[in-house]
Amino acid sequence: MKSEQIASPARVTRKRFVDWLLGTSAGGFLAAVFYPVVRYIIPPEVPESAVSSVQLAFAADEVPSNTGRIFKFGTRPGIILKTPGGELRAFSARCTHLDCTVQYREDLEHIWCACHNGHFDLNGKNIAGPPPEPLQAFDVNVRGGQIVVSVRT
């Protein structure tokens, strides 16, 4: 009876120790398997050349008054338009609602997003529909007939 009382705590400790050993080994093994898998699934950072200025593929006189065209601004779409008054303006073409690409509506004479009927005026300001913010505006410069669009600083 007495020896049992002395022996029993030692036995529990040994069992606990083995349990701990097995548990940490299993945990270590699982970590060694899942750590690389998790790192693998996280997409690697692609060095994105942060575009701050692009020269468009078409000349300034190829954009008539009251029309707009989509162009590539780095990896994003941009929209260039000529107001009925003859002024060139450029904005990011990504609707501030859910990232659809906006277009120029000649009949309405402003920018429109087809996805959820969002409207922006010719300054890029959101005037109707779901868009919560105005479109990001770009600077437009015409050098020798070529359009250069750059980020507004």
Partner: protein, 219 residues
């Protein structure tokens, strides 16, 4: 601590009972728990089959991971593999495991085949286990053959051209079969998408069905 544990256990037991009332899975529990297999001094040789199964599951897991980055097109395939190897963290590891695992799985399948053959374990009542096993061997080699093209490098291109030329010399149906495999006259992007479809859907589905039957019939 112990209170919360018993609470958790009770919740689990209740969920199990709820599910069992609707699905009735307890009927298969004894079947899954205990399976009688012959034990003898040559049992050691059947471990090889278990290793082949383990490697098969490893191939499924790493194959799914490779699908996250692989692009099955003539323009994108080679680039996506290079990207995987150079840019993706542990991409080299996942691809290397898939490649080594494939070779080892075929090796294990062959060792398993020869041990079963030499121990005469293919006889009644184990014929269907043997037949599904031979079927699995061919499916595995099909997976190896179709997977070999997917890196879309020079070696893959010419190996597949030679490999698809072999059925081409069969009399009468040869050219038709070759065209069927290649998806055209020569190896092209059409062959790549074809082999990709076989490699990631058709052959794995076949392998799954055969493995299930094969393991179910172990006796």
């Amino acid at each position: 601590m112990t209170e919360s544990r018993s609470l958790l256990r009770r919740a689990l037991a209740e969920t199990g009972r709820w599910l069992d009332d609707r699905i009735g899975f307890t009927a298969v529990v004894p079947f899954i728990k205990k399976k009688r297999v012959p034990v003898h001094r040559h049992s050691f040789w059947y471990y090889i089959g278990g290793m082949a199964l383990f490697l098969f599951l490893l191939q499924i897991a790493t194959g799914i991971l490779l699908l996250f980055y692989y692009r099955p097109s003539a323009e994108g395939a080679y680039e996506s593999v290079q990207f995987l190897m150079a840019e993706v963290e542990f991409g080299w590891l996942i691809r290397s495991i898939h490649s080594w695992g494939a070779n080892l799985m075929i090796f294990m399948a062959f060792v398993h085949l020869f041990s079963v053959m030499l121990l005469k374990a293919y006889r009644a009542p184990r014929e269907i286990t043997w037949m599904t096993g031979v079927g699995l061997l061919f499916v595995c080699m099909g997976l190896g053959f179709t997977g070999y093209l997917l890196p879309w490098n020079e070696l893959a291109f010419f190996a597949t051209r030679v490999g698809t030329e072999i059925p081409g010399v069969v009399p009468v149906v040869g050219p038709f079969v070759r065209g069927l495999l290649r998806g055209g006259e020569d190896i092209s992007g059409a062959t790549l998408t074809r082999f990709y479809a076989l490699h990631v859907s058709v052959l794995p589905a076949l392998a799954f069905m055969l493995v299930e039957l094969h393991v179910l019939l172990v006796q």
